[in-house]
Subunit: 370 residues, 2 copies
């Protein structure tokens, strides 16, 4: 368990996740601690490699706080990777320069699947140490979000051994040997749930499950091989810590078409917040789920390449598409502003300043106007 | 105009496009004449390059007919590329070995946009010659589909100069200089409409607009920069030739969320058929649009890597998801079976045999059973 918590000075993010009234719309950015920041690149150079950075709690703390030093973001997110769990299973995660993740030992046949097991959480101690260290450094400034890849998204990389254009290897397993894939997913779901709960024990005040590749699946396959296991994770999560609810966010990239299915009511054990990419209009999404859960998103990250005035206008358009959180019937929707995908490494940091100001300013003015 | 048409012996595809009763569900496969066929690779080797193949009507005819020699597919599709129009604008299309398309002269600034013009269709004569030659070779066996990329999809390649992971350059133009992009799209829409009408004049019996990259756009941007211009193309199309309606198919990869908007009634000048990728369930799609248009799709092409028995089962599942074309109220839906994306070059051809047999056999049995 974490040390007695310092009082949280800004709980706007947590309140929006739970559809409680807030003075403005909180925002944070996926991959907010990342390569678009010169100070991040400097720390990474000192760490030697991405994994050198992620596995060292001091470095992880330093980079997690960097974007918060620049802008009044409403949440911090643990600096780590979505693939730490399969790395702890012994698959050998690495990041070659300029490339995505790679596993030295992909899981492709019956024997490799038989060898898989839920990893000893002691192997992920560096993550929990980082959570504790970041909480201390944050000192109650904003809440800290923990995270993991979803069981399906982990399986994509575990079977392919790397990213893919078409996920042919893992989908071939899905169609030809669903029994093998179900075993991988079952182990992943147990491991991810235990891992997120350990992050919560260490001090994570919200958790997010990234189903980055749910959107590559056919409709029926998504339900059977992605959603089912994401739900299994969410249902096993601790939902309270330090006397507060720990919101759970589920983000399925390309999953807008399945919003009704993903948005299982939180009261029934589902997520509190659903992340959406930019292809789905937030206002129509709210109507489809009748504000049963909060929504997170969904500015196209490429908007940040446009001039600051355009960034501000597009940010306002996203806020306006969600509309007033308070409904005519007195209930509340919840909106956490974010991008619809991680921020690009080529983003000019000063455009982020325009974004933060527009989101906070416009949402505050809109609430005051009504 | 084409020569007097030979009577069409198999019009199942055309009838399904128009939601007329058929004895079975017709099928064809996007990229059915392609690298997964050894005979295609042999012809391509003789032609020297992809463009050498596409610009020679004899070669184009040869490869267009190759898949039909193997299997009783219900339509032929012109062998060509979605990017012939910008090539005719002088942008210099090429295909490096193992890579996607590339333009020597991308359109990225005000001066380049100012130079753009609707190309002289004489520069695309090789395409119309190929259409005439293929129609002759088909001799009424099945209908021939002509096609082009959508205005937005052409613009993606014209501005980026090649494929992209994030379409950052064209999206930056979209947000920062929408005036430039609108000019490109307006020229593209005029050019694509004229090009497709010339294909129809040469003998194309249906036409398809590929909006391959509509799905990368934010909701509002899709409506403004993709759908609006696709509609402009469709509204300008000749819809009758040789005494028959020429159906128009619109396929937006990743566009399932916008189905209601894309499915403008054909009577109002919209497409007759909407193509869907595998993320959307056909049965639910039908309900959403109340069978106002026919649907084309939507097997995940990676299913073709599974054993033939699985391919057959998944094909039946797609047919069953659409359900009976005839509705209780006596009206008909229309279903053209296809993949949800082009067939992979790594597909074993014998798995395609299993697919064709399953689609024809199962759909015929289902109709007889009801």
């Amino acid at each position: 368990m974490s040390e007695p918590a310092t009082a949280l000075r800004n709980d706007t993010f947590l309140r929006a996740c739970l559809r409680e009234p807030t003075a403005y719309t909180p925002l944070w950015l996926m991959r907010q601690a990342g390569r678009y920041l010169p100070e991040y690149n400097a720390t990474r150079a000192r760490a030697g490699s991405f994994m050198g950075l992620a596995t060292n709690p001091d470095f992880a703390t330093e980079v997690t706080l960097q974007p918060l030093e620049r802008w009044p973001l409403d949440a911090a997110i643990l600096f780590s990777d979505i693939l730490t769990v399969p790395d702890a299973m012994g698959l050998g995660l690495s990041f070659a320069a300029g490339e995505g993740p790679r596993f030295a030992h992909p899981v492709r046949d019956e024997a490799a699947v038989a060898r898989l097991a839920v990893p000893d959480l002691a192997r992920l101690r560096y993550v929990f140490d980082a959570v504790r260290s970041i909480r201390k450094a944050l000192a109650g400034r904003v809440p800290l979000i923990g995270f993991s890849g979803s069981p399906w998204t982990l399986a994509c990389y575990m079977v392919e051994g790397a990213g893919s254009d078409d996920y042919r290897t893992v989908k071939t397993m899905l169609y030809a040997r669903p029994d093998l894939l179900h075993r991988i997913l079952d182990i992943n779901a147990q491991a991810v749930a235990a891992y997120l709960n350990a992050q919560i024990d260490a001090g994570a005040q919200a958790v997010m499950v990234f189903d980055s590749w749910g959107g590559v699946l056919a409709d029926a396959a998504f339900r059977t091989f992605s959603l089912r296991y994401t739900r299994a994770v969410v249902r096993q999560l601790k939902r309270e810590a330090e006397g507060r609810r720990v919101p759970c966010i589920v983000f399925t990239k390309g999953g807008g078409g399945w919003l009704e299915e993903i948005a299982e009511p939180a009261e029934g054990g589902g997520a509190d917040v659903i992340g959406l990419d930019w292809t789905t209009d937030l206002g129509r999404a709210r109507k489809r789920i009748d504000d049963r859960v909060a929504l997170q998103g969904n500015l196209d990250p490429t908007v940040l390449f446009a001039p600051p005035a355009v960034v501000a206008a597009e940010a306002r358009a996203v806020l306006d598409s969600f509309g007033a959180a308070k409904r005519p019937d007195g209930r509340h929707g919840g909106h956490v502003f974010n991008l619809g995908h991680g921020i690009s490494q080529f983003t000019p940091p000063e455009h982020v300043a325009a974004l933060v100001e527009a989101v906070h300013g416009h949402s505050r003015r809109s609430r005051n106007a009504t």
